[in-house]
Symmetry: C2
Subunit: 263 residues, 2 copies
Amino acid sequence: MKASTKIFGCIADPIDHVKAPSLFTQIFKEKNIDAVMIPINVSAINLEQFFSCIKSVNNFSGLTVTIPHKTKVLRYCDLLEKEANDTQSVNWIKIEKNKIIGTNFDGIGFTNGMKSNGFSISNKEFAIFGIGGAGSAICHSLLRNNVKKLKLINRNIEKLNNFVKKLNKLNYKTEILVDDFVNYDISNFDYVINATSLGLKENKDLIFDVKKTKLDATIIDIIMEPEETILIKEAKKYNRNYHLGKNMLTSQVDLAGKFFNLW
Amino acid sequence: MKASTKIFGCIADPIDHVKAPSLFTQIFKEKNIDAVMIPINVSAINLEQFFSCIKSVNNFSGLTVTIPHKTKVLRYCDLLEKEANDTQSVNWIKIEKNKIIGTNFDGIGFTNGMKSNGFSISNKEFAIFGIGGAGSAICHSLLRNNVKKLKLINRNIEKLNNFVKKLNKLNYKTEILVDDFVNYDISNFDYVINATSLGLKENKDLIFDVKKTKLDATIIDIIMEPEETILIKEAKKYNRNYHLGKNMLTSQVDLAGKFFNLW
């Protein structure tokens, strides 16, 4: 740490599961960049207060935003990049010329993470549980990658229907389906994704029954703490292929570096 | 850096001379304490905005305050410890139970720093240039240490006279004198202190003429960037003893650790 060190933050609540501060601080070090990323624990009720003052810190360069703030921080941005506007969800913020600029790399981070691990995406069939900040970003990126079929499953039906209406207006070729949160059919999908917070940390709730997927399906979790979630354990138990949550974050490293003009 | 890392800050403007972030982050590491101190560059005009929101960050543990904010932050504290109230100047802040608590270790840090370097204080004669945040804290601590004589020299005469009135009310035995900022007599003092910001960083202005001190006087600077200021260079040139600014900070390490219940 030096007087000149640029400060980045990772804002979340709770904070104790976040991986970004250690990951990015380590990457800054390896790349010889004079910067750190600190954990910033702000409750939802204090978000407005927090954002009212981040411009006052001249050496504060930006933030990554995570659970539960991704959709709520939207209103505090002065400018939104396309990905943030499409998904109405923000996971990276930079402060430039006294403007708070929001973007979202969850979607492209997710699909890049799959590709760099050898999974093909276009023309494949996906089912996803959860359409919150991360889930909706993933859906947009899957549509942009021309998946064949996308089934959305969400506890809140009204929110789900509104989201589907929005996606349909975008005129992608993908067939978009919805299903019931309890009685879902995921028997014919190549990839089944958990984009909810079930399985985070101490939580042991399973979002879906892995046995209901086809034998060559790939089970994907976006939870990265623990690295091997209860869902991934189930996938292993029933011999399904799987893809870990941490890939969505590590594949955002390059994107974030470019966003902040760091590399 | 981890999700659980406690965040301390060092608030200043400009920021690029501050030593505390590297010093304290290193000390935390050596003591195996999961904490860092980050530089926080806030302009005076944005102080209110900054302090209006620091309570919103749950893992933000406290601050050290330096030039030019030491007197201005007083108004944002909910509670003041005796040293901060005496000097009307704050250089350490902690946030406890949603209260901002201010204290000031500059004075005791200064006198402790002298003592630990073998300088005796009581019954000695001191002259000090500058009665801002640090200077006034040093004066209070010198009085508490029963110095024989204390001469105060300050560009702003009205501020100086008010300060002397305040000191006299405290009924210490020390003889308190004032002198002119241009035509000063420092020929009979054991210690002559620079407590202004002259000599900081690129600034090459000399606060006083070292040749006007007695041959066995000790020249003391509170500036710590550069470590060897132009004043200290003059002291060396004219064979005066000297005491570096960094001692005031390093001797605050133990005090700060206790203030934050860290060690």
